[in-house]
Structures are given as structure tokens and as C-alpha cells.
Symmetry: C2
Subunit: 205 residues, 2 copies
């Protein structure tokens, strides 16, 4: 029997300690990224890019641009999850397969492409917001999918974004939003940190 989604969410921790002797296969990495891309995005932009950092050399390269955090070397894979700026420019191409499959009408496609161009062109803050939103939605999907595979993850937002871009040859439109270290848990991880009471963060209207 599978764990329920509620159980996975309840038991998820942010891992710092990974079993250095257990790898995550290329097939599992691809499966995780495919699931992550099923996250929603505005206009179905799919404005994300994933770099799976796996080799010993690449892990050291990553460590150097995220303040020496050892977990990116210990974990078998760390995903650099980027949001992509200027996604409105490729929206027609991104949506075309859904039109051909009869899921989205040609009229809807044309409407969305026009609306996206009208709002995103010359609006760098909206493009950045959109990059952060889409990449984060995908990252959370990836983390929960990983839990379902018996893996643990640790999200990292403390890194040198420009350093990562240089070290991994990212395009100028690819903004590193979050890193997700992924692997099997070693002993010594923190318990889940306590959360504020729901009443403090929820209003009804």
C-alpha cells in the first residue's frame, strides 16, 4: 500500500545527511523530472530547466558556488532548478502539441499567446516572478515525488546564482531558483521543524 500524500507531506524533512554509498539512477532522475514538469505553470509556459548534478567533479563545482555546503557533494544528485525568463516568446511552440492533440483550441492558443506577450514583454519583474513561481511549483512536485520513491531531499536557496550560471553554462534567460539535493537518508538528520499554528497564517473571507 502506498503512503497517502498527507502522510508523505507530514513525514517530509529537509535532509542534510545523505547515504554516500547509494546512487540514484539516471532513469529515476528522468522519472522525477518528468513528474516535476507536470506541475502547473501560467499559460502552461513550462518555463523551467533542470540540471542534474551527478558526477564527482560536477558536485565539487556546485559546492564551490553554494557556500561550501557539503550535502551537494554527499548526495548522489542535486537538481539545479531554473525558471526561464521570456517564456512568452516560445509559448506558441510550447502549446502547439496540446492543440494538435485536441486539448487546447487554436483560438485559445492565439488568445494566450497574445495575452502573454502583452503582459510579459518589457516587464522583467513579471518574468522573474513567473520564473520563481513555475520553478518552485516544479521543485515541490519533485520533492514529493522523491518522497514517494523512498528518497529524501533538501531544498537550498542559499547559493551564488551568478556563480552557478557560470559554472554550469546556463543561458542568460535561465535563473537558478532552488537546488534540491536528493538521495537516501543517512542518520543524523533534523526532525521536521515546528510550524506556526494554522490560525496565525490563515484568514477566512
Amino acid at each position: 500500500m502506498s503512503a497517502s500524500i498527507a502522510q508523505l507531506i507530514e513525514s517530509r524533512i529537509s535532509a542534510n545527511h545523505f547515504d554516500t554509498g547509494r546512487d540514484v539512477s539516471e532513469a529515476d532522475i528522468s522519472a522525477l523530472v518528468r513528474l516535476a514538469t507536470l506541475a502547473p505553470s501560467a499559460y502552461n509556459f513550462q518555463n523551467w530547466k533542470f540540471v542534474a548534478v551527478r558526477t564527482a567533479e560536477a558536485r565539487e563545482r556546485l559546492k564551490a558556488v553554494c557556500f561550501g555546503q557539503q550535502k551537494v557533494v554527499d548526495a548522489p544528485v542535486t537538481f539545479i532548478i531554473c525558471g526561464v525568463l521570456g517564456a512568452h516568446r516560445s509559448l506558441q511552440r510550447t502549446l502547439q502539441p496540446s492543440v494538435e492533440a485536441g486539448i487546447v483550441s487554436q483560438a485559445a492558443l492565439e488568445n494566450w499567446v497574445a495575452m502573454a506577450a502583452a503582459t510579459h514583454t518589457d516587464n522583467p519583474q513579471l518574468q522573474r516572478d513567473e520564473a520563481f513561481r513555475s520553478a518552485s511549483l516544479a521543485a515541490m512536485t519533485l520533492m514529493l515525488a522523491a518522497e514517494g520513491m523512498g528518497l529524501v531531499t533538501g531544498a537550498i536557496s542559499g547559493f551564488d546564482a551568478a556563480g552557478i550560471a557560470t559554472a554550469f553554462g546556463l543561458a542568460a534567460t535561465e535563473v537558478p531558483v532552488i537546488l534540491v539535493t536528493t538521495g537516501y537518508a543517512a542518520p543524523g538528520n533534523w526532525a521536521q521543524k515546528l510550524r506556526r499554528p494554522v490560525e496565525e497564517v490563515l484568514d477566512f473571507a
Copy 2:
């Protein structure tokens, strides 16, 4: 038997049509938000705020500030999910319960509070990035938790943020990041839109 997380992710669609005759209880809404707050955030900032828009009057008020989208009136609840700016200022208070519970050491707390202050103070872009990241991670957790309860959701990022802030009395630090309409599905929803092939969005390093 529960659906696996992979099955939930595979079957999730962005809903536009909701059963107007079925409500979501206040208890279910609180349960969804509690699960959403188990998402990770930098330093465990928990820099999010949720407004559950439920009454007929409040739904019309919301519709007026999100370009007339009918689904926020049809769905029994729409969550306005905000990220909170300046979260470093309340980090000590946010982390204190985890210190008292023995999960985080006093030394770690002091270190994080100092690091967060050093990087976030006078850095409005980082504060905004952090708001979008945390709120989006929480939103995705909420959407998948809702799927697990047999609900459907629709994420909306096309809205008048300033209009929402005014209409719902948000603080200046509370930035609306994403709306999540939530309820039971009515017929007529789109199938899941097609995604780009994994090879197009994933690099190995």
C-alpha cells in the same frame, strides 16, 4: 488503498469547472493549509499567509480583482496564497519553538538569524524572490494535498495584485503570489495539457 503520489501528480489537471453544489468545510480548509505549511522555506521562514475566500460576497469581490474569472465564484473556496516580505525580522520568534523542542540548537538559531539579516536587509529583490519561492512551494503542497482528498484545483497567476491587497486588506508585506481555486470537479474540464519532452528540459552534469 491510497493513490500513490506519482498517480496523483499524473492525474492532476488545472480545473476551470467546479461543482457549485458541493462545499469544502472549514475543517478541510484548515487541514489543507496546515499541510501546505509543512512545505520547506529558507531558514524555515514560513513566510506565507493564506486567505480562504469562501462567502458569496467575498468570492464576487475576488472575481472583480482577477479579471472576472468565473471559477473563483463557482469554486467553494479560493486560496489567496501570499508570500511575506521582510521575514528575517520575525525569524527569531518563528524558530524559537523548534529550539524549545530541541530540534534546532540555540547556536544554529543565532547563526541563521544573523545570516538572514545580513542577506535580506535592504535587499527587496531577494525578499520578493523568497516570497514567491515559499508561497509557491506551499501552494504546490496544498494542491497535491487537495488531490489526495478527492478535490481538484486550478492555479491562477493572472490577477490584479494591488486590487487583491486592497480588497482583502493585506498588509504591505503580504504579496499575493498565486490563487488556488479548490472544490469538486464538474464536467467539462480540460485534459492535462501536454508537456515538453524531458530531454528538452533536463541536462546532466
